[in-house]
């Protein structure tokens, strides 16, 4: 058995990357082309071994050469899809990271983790989620890139997509996303605390975290406020610009949500007595001052809700003020 020549090794390295059906065709053509080139170089006075090396070096990296023979892209995601890819990743990260972070913080807090552990857990889950999103979006786009759809942007651009040059601050789609998220998150958590078996009673049924009496009035009221906030977000989004009336409406809605929630939390009216009784009976929680923990938690949540609502209200007022100054400047 003879050692394969450099030429044969090069041809083998190239056709490895060529679809089965074309392999012989490419190999035979390449064999003839290289032989012709080597002959010409030898005729010009080059030693045969050097001529073979030069001929092969001229064609270059076999993977690269094979890719250009088959016309397959030398990039993961090309210029046609790059912006679709980037926009989708930014959008998904912006929506999903806050949701998972919120869910983890809530779950960790409900199970009584220390604040440091809660932050670490939330950070870890956010990093994993971000990596997962980036990975799978990239995989999908790399596949699209290799199909017929990959040669042009997925979403055609039109002049209508241009941002307005109105000097007044424009309301973006984030307002809508915020409105939907608020409603979905709160109703999701309300259902979750009912059905998730954080603690079980004697029959093995989950004990709701929130006091059942809240359903007779406060919970329906708060859900109604959230629906009103969503409607407000839609109106605001359609108007595109903050007005004084909208800023006032925004303050009223923020307060309508924040004031009762803060009051409920601070008056200990929120937690199901059956739930806290069961929690106190847990042997692994013996020695922990649950009242103290709850007080710290309640004050923290109340402050956060208060600050967020105040910031939201102020934001509307500031934007309405800037909008009235910028009016007419087009």
């Amino acid at each position: 058995m003879t050692t394969p020549t450099l030429t044969e090794r090069y041809i083998a390295a190239v056709v490895r990357r060529i679809p089965e059906a074309k392999r012989d065709d490419v190999a035979n053509e390449l064999r003839a082309s290289l032989a012709d080139d080597i002959d010409a170089r030898v005729a010009a006075g080059e030693p045969e071994a050097a001529a073979e090396r030069t001929a092969i070096t001229t064609l270059g990296d076999p993977d690269r050469f094979a890719a250009s023979l088959t016309g397959s892209p030398l990039h993961l995601i090309g210029p046609a899809l790059y912006f679709d890819w980037r926009r989708l990743i930014v959008l998904l990260l912006g929506i999903l990271l806050p949701i998972v972070a919120g869910a983890v913080v809530l779950a960790e807090t409900l199970t009584g983790s220390a604040p440091v552990d809660t932050v670490l857990a939330a950070g870890g889950v956010m990093v994993n989620t971000a990596i997962g999103i980036a990975f799978w979006v990239t995989v999908v786009f790399a596949v699209i890139e290799r199909t017929a759809a990959g040669s042009r942007p997925l979403v055609a651009w039109s002049p209508d997509d241009l941002p307005a040059t109105d000097a007044r601050p424009q309301v973006g789609v984030s307002v809508l996303i915020g409105g939907v998220l608020g409603l979905v998150l709160v109703s999701g958590l309300l259902v979750a605390q009912l059905v998730l078996p954080l603690l079980r009673d004697g029959d093995g049924d989950p004990i709701p975290v929130l006091a059942p009496e809240l359903w007779s009035w406060w919970i329906p009221y708060l859900l109604l406020v959230l629906v009103a906030e969503l409607v407000f977000a839609i109106v605001l989004y359609r108007r595109r610009v903050w007005t004084v009336g909208l800023a006032v409406g925004n303050i009223v809605l923020s307060m309508a949500f924040a004031v009762p929630v803060i009051a409920l939390i601070l008056t200990d009216a929120v937690i199901n007595p059956a739930f806290s009784a069961e929690l106190l009976a847990r042997p692994e929680l013996a020695g922990i001052d649950l009242d103290e923990t709850w007080n710290v938690f309640a004050v923290t949540v109340a402050v956060v809700i208060g600050v967020v609502s105040a910031a939201e209200s102020a934001d509307g007022v500031l934007k309405a003020a800037r909008a009235s100054r910028g009016r007419g400047v087009r």
Binding site: N28, E29, D37, L69
Partner: protein
């Protein structure tokens, strides 16, 4: 100018020259292959005609033009060394004339611009 500046200029020059040449290789190949030939021989003919192209650019180009129906190919096994001969199709011929006209118009316009006349 420093060495880095000189290198940047010569790199930019190489890129621009490559871009000017790129389209002419397609026209040249389609015109030349109205007389059937194999890849290596075409490479030589283009070189003689002062149309510089690398082997690893020309061979993939021939396959692409073939997949677009502008060239057809046929194996010639009469020789000791079997070779794949390419020939320009009617569609390829029509395209070559169209491209050649475009090229001529651009060359004329550039010539007038170079002499300072109206484009």
């Amino acid at each position: 100018m420093g060495d880095d500046d000189l290198r940047a200029v010569s790199e930019a020059t190489a890129t621009h020259r490559q871009e000017v040449r790129r389209g002419s290789v397609v026209i040249a190949s389609l015109l030349a292959l109205r007389e059937p030939d194999y890849g290596y021989a075409l490479l030589e003919r283009l070189g003689t005609a002062a149309i510089d192209v690398d082997a690893n650019t020309l061979y993939p180009l021939l396959r692409r033009l073939e997949s677009q129906g502008l060239l057809t190919s046929e194996w010639n096994t009469d020789d000791v060394r079997p070779r794949k001969f390419y020939r320009t199709t009617a569609a390829g011929d029509a395209l070559a004339r169209e491209l050649l006209d475009d090229h001529q118009r651009i060359t004329d316009a550039l010539g007038r611009l170079a002499e300072g006349g109206p484009a």
